[in-house]
Amino acid sequence: MADDWVLLGRITDPRALTHVRTLRVTDTTITLDGRIAGRTRDTLTPEHLAALRDQLLGLANNPDEPFQPMVFGKDPTLTQMVRVRRSSVDVGPGDLDPEATTGPAFEVELDRVGNTPSIESTLLGGFRNVLAAAFSSGANSTPWHARPAAALDYYDGQNAFSSGGWTRTSETGDVKVSTFTAGSGNSRRLARWTVAEDHWYDGAATIEQTYPDGNYYRMVGRRPRLGRDTTGWRITNGLLRVYVDTTGKLKLQAYRNGAWGTAKELLFGMYDGVTPYAPNRVNTWAVRRNSPEQVIVRITLGLESGSVNYPHRVTLDLSLRRGDRMVCARMTTAGINLLGSAELTTAETGTVLNSSAGKEFTVRTNSNDADGNRFVLAHTGNTTSSYTGDASGSAPINISMLAARGKAWSFAAGFEVGGTGAASIDTAAAMINQWAAPFGERTTVVGW
């Protein structure tokens, strides 16, 4: 009975949900119960069990994942997309003891959505208005949409996306990126496609959080575990991994050639007109969205100058879409206006890629790093200058995000993977055009 396991949503480890005891199917629903880690109870840590419990509970009524794939090992003909109506776990006092031979019992109620259904992606947007000034200087917006490379019959509804698309190789499977060629305005598009259940999470945007055993586990839903530490998480789409360290520095890693590269550190600065502040801690974190097509987390940063704390709330929202090579960020303050800046903590020379009328919007390092990539920083203009490091390489590249102090600003950071050898949609210039064309994506299933 080694195949009495079920895979549900982001729980894709066959050791997780096992010992399926009853599986009742009606024409519209599936109800099943079993044991969490029943067979491998002794090989999993209590923290791993706790993570599985939280994942299972996060599946139900999840606004970010209205439908999720289900695979039943014993009977592959039941494989299909489902909507999880309810999930429960019995965690009695003995169930987490190391002596327990079977894991905690669980139960789920599912609505049947259909096998390999037709998926509709509503794409809204495609043009970042505030970047209009930059576009006049040669940049352009390139709206794009990524889906698992295993998807079939991709059609954008208007036959206006580039045919085929480009493949980006992610840690969790290939994604295919289609770009829309003309870019000078917002629109709503309906892309239609189909994908096999076991490829639904290929290159999916994902949040991972640590448990007390120090390991990262995928998060399901929007409720982070209690007792978390504010830096015990990272977001990833298999191409880019983003997290913060305890001092409030943003860290980014690129996935290339089957491995994650060395993290680059981005240090923020905030100037209130009197004193330059820098983050020195992360106060809170929260999840704003946790869908395969996009994840958004929010952190609040503590700023300090000398040993004086900045008294107002400063938030940093980090958004990562499936297939994106840049993380989109929005920083806001509820306090007095600030002048935001960001710089690499390593000294590297850089080149301005887009500028207009003395305003510089994007900058890229000149030389490949040890992993063969170059770093890219972009922001939404309004700046009078961004500094690119001096020729000697003794200063890091940095951007100053506003001409005047303000309460909010946007920026993006990522890697030109392949560096000087990058081509096509993976060059820094192309990535910036993609950042300039954000789509808000929502998925649903057609005809279930």
């Binding site: 947007g125 505030v130 917002n186 704003r288 938030t315 989109c328 309460k407 808000g440």
Partner: protein, 386 residues
């Protein structure tokens, strides 16, 4: 029963008192029988305040809603209308502007001064100074609300009464600011540094019941060379229409040239009889009146219901969104929830009713839309009264 505030309208409210398992003490209700204490004021704050700790002015300044007390049912249910009703209630009762016909030709501020006699218990707040003068002849017996509405319409202005009993009249962007500070969306709620989220269920409805392809205009006649002869009604095709005339619109202008009236009616008609959806917004926000003011502009975003507008790009909750901007016409049936404060204010005293209020639950309706167009743009283009 809950609180309703309507832009430039009387609104209504009702509050039920409850002694838990025992009757409400007469010692409380004897303080404000409607027969003697009617036209006193009910004051609602979004958190309880001890009225002994603050002056009446401070209490009003902190208030979420101030209503006029005009009814009592079963001793313990109090009801009334919003203080706007001091200018004229839902039946048009209130202070009458004039008993004899008079004609004046003056600017906006002068008109407001003329129309704001001593009987009104309001302080004069911010009165705008739009250009031009306006000549108008008043027939006897016009209520103050009606008169101020007329004047405001002609000057492209609006009015409001603040909870502090201050009367403001100005163009709406001066009253409320042109940029919304809140966003109604089903996705998120709560206060961001940039916007306040109001978690809402948004139901757009598009109906062709009111759709018309043409419009039928009737002028009121009058003196001067620019009159539209009442005996000469005209019909106009709306944009794209064939000129059939199921809609009728009447205007009371003696100063608008035919061409301007045509322009105006087409704009007005295109808006009123178009195929645009109407939006119903319901929210579980704790205190919607605190999150967005009646009259203020509001972002509304629900792409699943096709409610978006690429003209405005804003950030909320880490998302980049393209919401519609709509004006809040009314906040309807806002529950008085546990945690709020309720007070009764007589001429010289404030009683705290909070401990005896029967708290309510449920959702609040936010009515949104554009104000109807006014004749003002047509007049301005023509340079009348300049």
């Amino acid at each position: 029963m809950p609180l309703t505030q309507v832009m430039q309208g009387p609104g209504h409210w009702s509050i039920e008192l409850d002694g838990d398992r025992l009757p409400v003490p007469r010692a409380l209700t004897d303080l404000f029988p409607v027969a003697s204490e009617g036209f006193g004021h009910i004051v609602v704050t979004s958190a309880q305040i001890d009225p002994a700790d603050v002056t009446v002015d401070t209490l009003l300044d902190l208030a979420t809603y101030v209503g006029r007390y005009i009814g009592q049912r079963d001793r313990t249910t109090l009801y009334g209308d919003h203080i706007n009703a001091w200018l004229g209630d839902s039946e048009g009762k209130g202070v009458i502007v004039n008993t004899t016909e008079f004609t004046l030709d003056q600017g906006f501020t002068a008109w407001i001064n003329t129309l704001q006699p001593d009987e009104i218990p309001f302080y004069q707040g911010n009165i705008g100074t739009p250009g031009f003068t306006f000549e108008y002849t008043w027939k006897p017996g016009v209520s103050q609300r009606e008169a101020i509405d007329t004047i405001c319409r002609w000057f492209g202005c609006e009015w409001r009464v603040r909870n502090t009993f201050d009367f403001d009249a100005d163009i709406w962007t001066n009253l409320y600011g042109a940029t919304p500070t809140a966003i109604a969306t089903p996705w998120w709620d709560g206060r961001d540094a940039e916007l306040t989220g109001i978690r809402s269920v948004i139901e757009p409805e598009t109906t062709l019941e009111r759709y018309a392809e043409g419009i039928f205009g009737v002028g009121s006649g009058g003196t001067g060379s620019n009159q539209t002869d009442p005996a000469d009604p005209f019909d106009l095709p709306l944009a794209g229409g064939a000129g059939v005339t199921p809609g009728i619109y009447m205007t009371g202008s003696s100063q608008v040239a035919d061409a301007d009236l045509v322009t105006f009616l087409q704009a007005e008609g295109a808006e009123r009889w178009a195929r645009n959806p109407t939006l119903k917004i319901r929210t579980d926000d704790f205190c919607a009146l605190d999150s967005v003011a009646v009259g203020a502009p509001l972002y509304v975003f629900d792409p699943d219901a096709d409610v978006y507008d690429f003209d405005s790009e804003v950030h909320y909750g880490g998302h980049i969104v393209w919401p519609k901007i709509l004006r809040v016409q009314a906040i309807v049936d806002m529950p008085v929830r546990q945690g709020m404060g309720v007070y009764f204010r007589t001429a010289d005293e404030v009683f705290d009713l909070t401990d005896y209020v029967k708290w309510e639950t449920g959702s609040t309706r936010i009515e949104v839309g554009e104000r109807l167009r006014t004749l003002r743009p047509a007049l301005k283009r023509k340079g009348y009264d300049a």
